[in-house]
Structures are given as structure tokens and as C-alpha cells.
Amino acid sequence: MLQVDSLTKSYPPDVAILKDISFALAADETLAIVGPSGCGKTTLLYLLCGLLRPDSGRVTLNGAAVGAGVQDIAIILQDYGLLPWRTALENTALGLKIRGLGAAARREQAQRLLRELGLGGREHHYPSQLSGGEQQRVAIARALALEPKLLLMDEPFSSLDALTREKLQNLVLGTWKQRRIPYLLITHGIEEAVFLGRRILVLGGQPAAVLATFDNPGFGCADYRERQAFFELAQALRAAMNACW
């Protein structure tokens, strides 16, 4: 469904960021992209959702080219991107408001989502009153509210403590199992990539290119974090990443 063909991007004057990136994401799949900080992962994400235009190559979703404001793609940014002047409820309903949904309907939908994500009773708090994990949940709720065809996440858990991060990883996996919205996760965490990606792409180099691809057949099984297959894949991934940079 998501098809990426030889994307290239450089910033003026001529700093090449991404070179010839190609991959695909099927409708029942999830994809994790790992790479070191500052290798152009965020640029890639912006290209995927149409906030940036590539120098060459193309991105299509179900055969149609993506452009800015494509509402079939929801994006969760690194530091959540919640508006400080909107409450949790208003932030969640923001995408629906922009779509022109009526006040009562979007309020109801947002409230239901927040409750589903364990934020019942926090609807009227501003982001500054919420913990990092709670803010991240609001950002997830805001993305889900749009009922997107594709979810893009940019290092969504990087600033959370270990326990909160695991909880939210479970939440993302649970949500995927329930809704089957394919997602693309950008991360620098090896375990995170193995836990959340059906397939894993290793990005690296200057300019960044796809260096390796891993299949993750154990993805989604119960207690995956405790299993031998999980450790083995994480080892393999670590080795591949060490070899690349």
C-alpha cells in the first residue's frame, strides 16, 4: 500500500541527506526503520507524509502520490507536537476539527479515544499538566482519531523512562492488533525495532541509504520480549548496525 521509489533529498547548497531510498509497506504489515541520530530519519518521515518534497523519486499510498495535508496519513512527532494552548481533549479532536467535523461529534469521538488510552478524567488538562507518557498517549489518540490508513511515528518514545516506554510499546502493539492500521516507526532503539517492526530497515551512511533489511517472523507473539528469537534478532540487528557505521 505504501510504495517508496528511489527517494533522494538534499538541503541547499548541496548537503545530500538521503540517497536512493526504496521500500514498500504492505497493508497488514508494520515497518521499523533504525539508524543513528541525525542520519536523516526525520527528513525521510517528512517526505513520506508530504510535508517535504523529494528532489527525485516518489511516494505513493495505494497508488496515489502523497502531498501536504494528506489526511490518510497520521503522524506522531518526536516531541509529540501537542499544542500547549489546547487541552488533551482539544488536541485529540484537532484533526477532526480541521476536517470540519461538528463540535459535539468530535468531542465525543475524542473522549472515547482518550478513555480507551487510559486518559479518562484528564480531558481538560493542558499538555503542561500531563507527564511525558500521557502526552504521548494524547498524541497517539490524536493520530487515531483521524482513522488513518497509515501511521508514521518519529522516535515516539525516546524521551520516556524505560517502564513507561515499554507500556507504550505494548499499547502501540495492542492498538495495531485491534485496528490493523499499518505503521512505520522510526527509532534508534534496537529492542524497540524488534518488538514493533514486522520488518526492519537499517538506515545509515552519508547520505543515508538502506543498508540492510530484516524479516521478523516472531513479531507480535505473546511475551516476545522474553523469547529466544527476540534476543537473536536483536543480536543480528546490532551486528549489522555495528558493521555499517
Binding site: 495535508g69 489526511q71 476539527k97 478524567g121
Partner: protein, 550 residues
């Protein structure tokens, strides 16, 4: 904080002492002693002349501020968010910014004439520049992640403007406006010293010319008052519009207070009924009603039996209403940890006993009303209806606080009618003061129950608007209380003692609001029982002493 109020008090004392010393040292008519200036001011604010000048000045400044905001704020957002516009407009802005706009007064007079418009335009121009520069800078520094995240949701230009640019710019605009109040009042003084016969600037210059220096200081006080009012107005507008800036950490729930045990049985029963009708609350309304009784003696002398029946009627009405409220609310109170210990909830008093209690109280109320005269008897039933109606308003409107205020606010009117047998407009001031006072602290009270009210679907302003906005509204209501009590001073021609009591009430109201912060609800108990009792009793004492000493 209590401390900051004390510090303000110290500052005033230091200033007054310095003034006193300076006036003694100079011993010149130009600097009258502070007490002379204050008494001249107190005299002036009773008459219409001062207020006419005050109003003229206030209208000019407010018009100028509005104009400056409408012109500069959107332009600042435009320049901050659209580089192409900014490229052409910024040089124009920064070339003209350093020009002292006040020298343009002659040109303003030429273009806009000698009337108000030239003065308003001059102030608006000066303020507008400050708002424009601050807003433009603020918008330039908006973090791109906010714009990206809203764009990724598919927002168009108009939506980005309203969802991101406007709210992000608001605090910067408000800061400029607040800093601008000082400048605005200073420019106002300058502008009003030309070509006008009204306004505080003219008032000061005129007094100076006539060598009436105490009058001059009345004008100076007036200008300070105007400045402070504008400053506070803007503060409140900002709290209202930028509620997110005034929240601190996750809101905390108040712990339920412990219940007293270890009491003899009969005392426990009395205590239980006492808690049921919240005797401690009655103390806030009763003094207001008694103050109305004192004031009513100016129209009609009072007899002891009348006073007795009035007190009985008040107590009975309050008991009936509170009993009814608990009965209606028991279902909700039992799930709310803060009220779960109320007697009607824990089952200490049975359902039937409460109904009997309400019936008995209502009968006592009707009886005392009948003893007070036909008109009181006729009004008794509608009055009870209003009191009972309040208990249901929580379920459908967030304005229930105002309904409670209205219901309790009937007390002074009732007392007045009981004494004089008729109604006068000026007593409504006292009732309105009580109404805003009660509504204001009921909102504070409701701040403790926000999470619960939201969950259960009860309507309250803190639940609807969030705690910071509710606190702001409560402050506004209490400012109105103060203004109305001041109106009472004018309407009844009360004396200095009342004014002193009013000043004390003002300080207490400020303390009350300093005690309550969005993150400190445990203090509400102190705020309520100590400060509120003090306020109502000081009011009664003020009115009563004033009546007896003058």
C-alpha cells in the same frame, strides 16, 4: 500569598511615612499631608464631578487600547508568519519605531481635530507600536514543530492562523499591553492637558492652576486608580484568554477531612444536624441580612420582635434549603470522597428524618414570615421555591453558582421588606454584593470537586472551563462584590467607618484569592471558614458602627 499582601501593606506604609516626613519638611501647600490628600480624595469620590472626569479618561484609554490591539495584533501576526510581507514592512516599522510619537500631537490635532479622537489616536499609536513589535517577535519564535504537527493534520492557512499563530501570539500581545498601561496613562495625562475640559489630566492641571493642591492629589490618586484598574483588567483578560499559561502541574485532589468521634450521644445528634445544614455557612449570609436590617432603620424604626422573627425566618429558610439540597444530592455526595462523610450520606440521618426536618423548617419559615406581615407571607412560598430550585441546577447548568448566589442574595432584600414593608432600589446593591460574593466562593468550593463533577456529569464552572478560568471568574465576581459594596457606601451616604471596614474586606478578599491556587486546594478550608466569616462580620460591624456613631 499572605506574605505578598503584607509586603504591599509595608510598601504603602513606607510611602505614607516618607510622604508625611517630606510634607513636614517642606511645610508647603504644594505637598499637603497624606491624611489631607486622602480625606480630599474620600470627599471627591462621593460626588459626581470626580467620576465624570474619571469616566472621560477611562473611555479615552480603553478606546485607545482597543484600537491599538485591533490594528497592531493582527499585523504583528502577519509580519511574524509571512516572511514576504515582513521583508517590506519591517524596515518601515524599525525606521519609525524610535520616533517619539508624542511629538506628533500637533499633527494629530490637525488631522483629527481638537476632540477626543486626536487624543485616542495618539495613545493608540504609541501602544500599537509596542504591541506590534512584541507580537511580531513572538510569532517569529514559534517552534516549527507546532506548525508541522498542525500542517500534518491537513490544516489550511486559515486553520493554522487560528489554531497556532493566534494563540501563540496572545501572551506576547498581552505582555505588551500590560507594560503599555503605564505609558498609556502617562500619555493620557499629556494629551488631556490640551484642548479639553474633562478628564483626570485636565482635573490635575486645573487644580494646580487654582492652587488647590489637595484637589490636585485627588486627580493624581484618580490616575493611579485608573492605572491599577487597567493593569488588573488586562491581567484578568490574559488569565481568561491564555488559561494554559496559568496551570501548574496535575491538579490534586483534596483529602477527605477526618470525622470527629468520641462524643456523647445527644451531642453527636446535635452535631450531626449541625453538619447537615452547614451552620458554618449560614454565618456568611446572616450578617448581610442583618446589615440590611440596620440600613432599613433609616426608613422605619425596628422593634425587638421584628428582629427576632427575621433571624428565625433566616435560620429556618436556610435549614430547609440545605436539608433539601442534601436530600437531592445524597446520591452524588455518597460517591464523592470529599462529601462522603456528610450525615445524609453515611446514613446517620434517615431519609424520612430529613424530610421531616425540611417540612418542620419550612413551617417555621412560613410562621415567622406571617408574623412579619402579609407581604412577607405572600413572598415566603416563591422564596422557598427559589431556594429549593437551586439544588437541581447543578444537573443542567454550569451557572448553578450564580443561582445559589441569587437564592442566598434574597436574604438582605427579605430583611429590608420585613422591616420597611416595601422595596427600594438601593438595597439591591447589598443583595447583589451577597450574590456575587456567594457565587464567587461557591466556584472556589467547586474547584475541589472538578474531577468528580466531570466524571459524574454534574455541571460546574471549574468542570466546564477548567480551574484557572474558574478562579479568574471567581476573582472577577469578588471584584464586583467589592464594587457593589462601594456602591452601597454611595447610595446610603455611609461614613468613614464603613469605608474602613470595606478596605479590610478588600484586603481579606485579596488574601482569600491568594490562598487558593490551581494546585493548592487543601487551603480552601482556611480560605472559607476563617476569611469568609471575617468578611461578613466585618461588613455587619462596619454598617452597624456607622449607623450608631453618625
Amino acid at each position: 500569598m499572605l506574605k505578598s499582601v503584607l509586603r504591599y501593606g509595608c510598601a504603602v506604609l513606607v510611602l505614607l511615612t516618607a510622604w508625611e516626613l517630606l510634607s513636614l519638611a517642606l511645610s508647603s501647600a504644594i505637598l499637603p499631608a497624606p491624611e489631607e490628600a486622602v480625606s480630599a480624595f474620600a470627599g471627591a469620590i462621593k460626588g459626581p464631578v470626580f467620576w465624570a472626569h474619571f469616566r472621560a479618561s477611562a473611555v479615552r484609554v480603553l478606546a485607545a487600547m482597543t484600537l491599538a490591539w485591533i490594528g497592531a495584533f493582527p499585523l504583528g501576526i502577519l509580519m511574524g508568519s509571512r516572511p514576504r510581507w515582513d521583508a517590506w514592512l519591517a524596515p518601515l516599522l524599525f525606521l519609525t519605531y524610535p520616533v517619539p510619537k508624542i511629538v506628533l500631537l500637533p499633527i494629530m490635532l490637525l488631522i483629527f481635530g481638537l476632540g477626543d479622537s486626536s487624543k485616542i489616536m495618539l495613545i493608540a499609536l504609541i501602544l500599537g507600536y509596542q504591541i506590534l513589535v512584541a507580537t511580531r517577535d513572538g510569532v517569529l519564535h514559534i517552534h516549527p514543530k507546532y506548525l508541522d504537527s498542525v500542517r500534518s493534520l491537513g490544516a489550511n492557512r486559515r486553520q493554522i492562523w487560528f489554531e497556532v499563530l493566534l494563540p501563540a501570539a496572545l501572551p506576547h500581545g498581552f505582555t505588551a499591553l500590560r507594560l503599555g498601561t503605564g505609558t498609556a496613562v502617562a500619555v493620557l495625562f499629556f494629551a488631556e492637558s490640551f484642548a479639553t475640559r474633562e478628564g483626570l489630566g485636565y482635573f490635575i492641571m486645573d487644580a494646580w492652576g487654582r492652587l488647590t493642591y489637595d484637589q490636585m492629589f485627588t486627580g493624581i490618586f484618580g490616575m493611579s486608580l485608573l492605572g491599577v484598574l487597567l493593569y488588573e483588567l488586562i491581567n484578568h483578560l490574559e488569565k481568561w484568554c491564555c488559561a494554559w499559561l496559568f496551570v501548574t502541574g496535575p491538579a490534586q485532589r483534596a483529602a477527605p477531612h477526618p470525622v470527629a468521634t468520641e462524643m456523647p450521644m445527644w451531642l453527636q445528634h446535635l452535631h450531626t444536624y449541625g453538619r447537615l445544614i452547614k451552620f458554618s455557612h449560614t454565618i456568611f449570609a446572616l450578617p448581610f441580612a442583618l446589615a440590611a436590617v440596620v440600613l432599613a432603620q433609616r426608613v422605619q424604626p425596628l422593634t425587638w420582635p421584628t428582629l427576632g422573627w427575621i433571624v428565625l425566618a433566616l435560620a429556618a429558610a436556610r435549614s430547609a434549603a440545605m436539608g433539601f439540597n442534601r436530600l437531592v444530592d445524597a446520591r452524588f455526595d455518597s460517591i464523592n470522597p470529599r462529601t462522603a462523610q456528610r450525615p445524609s450520606v453515611t446514613g446517620t440521618i434517615s431519609h424520612g428524618a430529613i424530610i421531616a426536618f425540611i417540612t418542620f423548617s419550612s413551617l417555621v419559615f412560613g410562621l415567622s414570615a406571617a408574623a412579619l406581615g402579609t407581604i412577607c407571607l405572600v413572598l415566603a412560598a416563591p422564596c422557598l421555591a427559589v431556594l429549593f430550585f437551586y439544588s437541581y441546577t447543578k444537573r443542567f447548568t454550569a451557572l448553578s453558582h450564580l443561582v445559589l448566589g441569587f437564592a442566598i442574595g434574597l436574604a438582605p432584600i427579605g430583611a429590608w421588606i420585613a422591616v420597611t414593608g416595601g422595596l427600594e432600589g438601593r438595597i439591591l446593591l447589598l443583595s447583589l454584593a451577597l450574590m456575587t460574593y456567594i457565587a464567587g466562593f461557591d466556584i472556589l468550593y467547586a474547584c475541589q470537586d472538578v474531577a468528580f463533577d466531570r466524571e459524574i456529569g454534574l455541571h460546574s464552572l471549574p468542570a466546564r472551563w477548567g480551574v484557572p478560568r474558574a478562579l479568574a471568574l471567581s476573582t472577577l465576581l469578588h471584584a464586583a462584590t467589592f464594587a457593589l459594596l462601594f456602591g452601597l457606601y454611595l447610595a446610603f451616604g455611609l461614613g468613614t467607618i464603613y469605608l474602613a471596614a470595606l478596605a479590610a474586606i478588600g484586603v481579606l478578599l485579596i488574601i482569600e484569592h491568594q490562598l487558593v491556587r490551581p494546585d493548592h486546594f487543601e487551603r480552601i478550608q482556611i480560605a472559607f471558614f476563617h476569611v469568609n466569616s471575617a468578611i461578613s462580620i466585618i461588613l455587619l460591624l462596619g454598617v452597624w458602627l456607622d449607623h450608631h456613631l453618625y
